[in-house]
Amino acid sequence: MSYLIYGFIILVAAVVIYGTWARKNIYRDVDRLGIRKVELMNRPVNEELSKMKGLRLSGETEERFDEWRSEWDQLVTVQLPDIEEKLFDIEEYANKYRFGRARKEADEASADLDRIEEHIDQLIEEVHHLIHSEEQNRHDIERIREFYEETRKKLWVQKGTIGEAAPKIEAGLDEAFEGFAEFEEQTEEGNYFQAGETLMQVREKLEELHYCMDEIPARLLLAAKDLPKQIQELEAGIEEMSRAGYPVEKYEFHMLMQSLRERCANAEQQLYRLEIDEAKEEIYFVEESIAAAYDDLEAEAHAKIAAEQLIDENKHHLRDLPLKMEELKSEWRNVKESYRLTEEDEKELDELDARRRKLATSFAVLQESAENRQQTFVELERLLHEWAGELEAFNTAMEEQKDKFAHLRSDELAAASEVEENRKALRRLKNRLRRSMLPKTSELLAEELQDAEEAVTRAQESLKEVPLDMTTVRRSMEEAGTAVRHVTKKGNQLLDTGEMAERAIQYGNRYRTRHDDVNIMLLQAEDRFRQGWYEESLELAVEGIEKVDRNVLERLEKESAEKNSVNE
């Protein structure tokens, strides 16, 4: 029971303490919001609005002034007082321990104050903008008037160089002048923003006219005089090349020249109409076309020299081809007597001959084309290069064919040498078998040795056939090589293991009398040794010896390696 009482007392105390703390916080927030509200009310909006009185309050200016004024009034008389009431309500809620509601109202009040502050800032900014534009206009009008005067003077000076574009420019200037009047009118009416825009348009116009007067003289000279002259010169050059034997008609220069002339005329008219950018494009196109035409003519000139050179060079190469082909055929006939050649080999030679004939025909066509001006020299040069490439490929194919024949002979010699090497390998193995005196080795390897010898004999026999079939020879060589490698590997492994097993048993003999278990294993090892089962013999011997002497196998291998290095 006493615990309940204590608990209750503590609970009550906690509630009281919390309430006091929360209320304190809310009161503090209310104070802050109140101060903020007062600050907003004291913003110098009226002062800013009063600055507008220096302007002409009519038209757009008047409208704006009234609008801003009423907005400000609304803020001060309605919205801000509402905030004040809200603050009282918040205090009320706090006193009644309705802290949640109080907090919510305080947040709403803060948000409202943020909106009001934003509105006030915007209002002030718009006022400033209007005032500033009026000032700006006053400055700009002076500068633009000066600019106008300048432009007019320029027109007088350049009238002679801009031709029929002068009236258009003058009309432009008049238009700009009218803009000034409009500006005055708008300023009178208090439409400062509109006046500013009008001034901007006048300036842009004047700048455009300036630009035209800068660009037109040079461009006009190009379009009307320089470029036509270049076209004429080009035409003369083309004519001269045609007389010199160049097939320039293939380039259709005549049509190009005509088109260029039309473009020049077009560009001139565009300049008169003040379409400067379009005229520039046309002029650029004409210039580029003329340069390209010159490049084409230059390339054609170079190509003629190159084509004539290629024709001369390749005439000699072509002349030698039939002889080379005949030599190859003769060699082929000789090779056929000694070696068996496949149908494919014959076919290859026929194809080679066909290619040779095709080369001769196509060269004749190219030669004719050069003589009769059937195509441009540039094109002819390209075709001649292609033809030269085909000739090179043909020569390569001929060399490959010759190499093939040569390889047949070298393959034969290599095969004979390989047979001898295989025989030597077998003899070395047999010698080693004989000298080793290891039991059963000959029996263990008898079959493989015989197979290897037979394979080598077959390989040797295949070399004696006439004509020699190199495919069969290669196959026999491979079989023989495989058999010999297999038997030598097996034989050497057998001998190495046998020698190691013998050495292990010999080594283990020192432990026999004192260790029965070692003796038993060595006896088994000996038995396996005499049967020719050397691997098993070695395993048994090592297993037995390692009972009393560790690392024996390592030691024996080291000994064997040392012995082999001494022998080598």
Partner: protein, 431 residues
């Protein structure tokens, strides 16, 4: 290893010095190590330079010691040559023991008695080989120990040799730092493992074609009857090759081993090899067939000399045929050529002991076998070959400098000797 029954043999030949180490265990022999080095200081089987011979022996001993990781102290030495003479002997003694049981002492006495005979001063007795014992008239007794009898006789063969040659040989062994456990006639030793009982009984010629000489030993009725040596062997073949191919003897020896064939018809014309021409840096190519022509001629000559010698020894036909041994018998074709020359059955004997399975080790292996049995029969002790007190673990053995015998390192703490003593003490405590 049973050190007491481990023996080391020394076979000093014209071309090689060989050592074989074997252990006798339960009546069988196990080879523990072998070594073979080139021999210097000998010519035609005889010592011509003691120092060179001593060096060769030391090299062979060092090689063997390195192989087994133990020191060799005494060796059984093989001896042969034309200075060897065999003569029959006879000895008689009365059995000494009171119960008339024949013991070791009686056997020793009868053997000693058999040696009482006139021997020229320049000769000495190498060994006495009992052929049979006779106990109270009962003949063909091989071992009279344990038998009851009054009169013990022995019929045997005394083997004598030139004092000079024997002493020179033993001097070389002594100078090499070894003790001589026994001296054994090599043909007897070889015959003990190379020949079968039937062959020895029927009559057989054991032909040992060595490096510098060929020893012909005749066996009949189970015993060695005569020994002869002809001063021609494998080294003559090597010389012929050296002269024929105009190359050094080293290269000649290599090609003989690698490519040699004594039968021309078996030799290949396609198997080629190169040798350096002596006196220049050029190399020449020859075929096995050309080599075989040189070898066959010499081997045929050896065969002819053997036949002539056999005839001089009084033998026209050998029921047991001829048994070849020695390093030269390894050359392919030798068997066929000698068969042709001798017109007898010929075979090659190869020792069938794992670790020593080449014909050149026949003498070495035979020396162990024969010496052991002979000592047993004669009741005389045979010193073990290895030094029990000075043995090292195989992996820790260091290379001995060539030509010198250095004192082995003594281990600190548990020395092998101390270990053995401790283990003996422990064993005795258990017993």
């Amino acid at each position: 290893m049973n050190y007491e029954q481990t023996y080391v043999t020394l076979d000093i030949g014209t071309s090689s010095v060989r050592i074989v180490i074997g252990e006798i265990s339960s009546g069988s022999m196990n080879i523990i190590g072998v070594s073979e080095v080139a021999s210097e200081g000998l010519k035609k089987g005889a010592i011509v330079d003691i120092d060179d011979t001593v060096q060769s022996i030391r090299r062979a001993v060092e090689k063997a010691e390195q192989m087994i990781g133990m020191e060799i102290k005494s060796v059984i030495v093989g001896i042969t040559g034309n200075h060897i003479q065999l003569q029959s002997c006879h000895g008689v003694v009365a059995v000494s023991s009171s119960d008339r049981e024949i013991g070791d002492e009686d056997v020793t006495r009868v053997i000693d008695a058999a040696q009482v005979m006139s021997i020229p001063p320049d000769r000495e007795i190498i060994d006495v080989i009992p052929r049979q014992f006779v106990v109270d008239g009962l003949e063909e007794i091989t071992d009279p120990r344990g038998m009851i009898g009054v009169r013990l006789e022995m019929e045997g063969t005394i083997i004598t040799g030139s004092k000079t040659i024997v002493h020179n040989l033993l001097r070389c062994v002594e100078k090499a730092g070894l003790q001589t456990a026994d001296v054994v006639l090599q043909p007897l030793a070889a015959g003990s493992i190379a020949l079968s009982k039937d062959e020895r009984g029927l009559g057989v010629a054991l032909v040992d074609i060595g490096g510098g000489a060929t020893t012909i030993s005749l066996f009949e009725n189970g015993f060695l009857q005569s020994v002869k040596q002809i001063p021609i062997g494998g080294s003559h073949i090597t010389n012929d090759i050296s002269i024929g191919l105009r190359t050094s003897t080293d290269e000649a020896e290599k090609v003989k081993v690698e490519f040699g064939n004594a039968l021309v018809e078996d030799a290949s014309d396609e198997e080629l090899f190169e040798v350096s021409e002596i006196g220049s840096d050029q190399r020449q190519e020859f075929s096995q067939w050309q080599l075989a022509n040189i070898i066959e001629a010499r081997v045929a000559e050896i065969g002819t000399l053997i036949r002539q010698e056999l005839s001089r020894m009084g033998w026209k036909s050998l029921p047991g045929g001829c048994v070849l041994t020695g390093g030269t018998a390894n050359i392919p074709g030798v068997l066929e050529v000698l068969k042709d020359e001798l017109d007898e059955n010929v075979r090659i004997s190869v020792p069938d002991y794992i670790g020593a399975r080449e014909p050149q080790f026949t003498n070495g292996v035979g020396l162990i076998s024969f010496a052991y049995r002979n000592a047993k029969i004669q009741g005389k002790p045979l010193d073990a070959g290895l030094d029990q007190e000075r043995r090292e673990a195989p992996a820790e053995k260091e290379m001995q400098p060539a030509g010198g015998r250095t004192k082995p390192k003594e281990k600190s703490g548990d020395s092998p000797g101390l270990k053995q003593k401790m283990s003996k003490m422990f064993k005795s405590f258990l017993e």
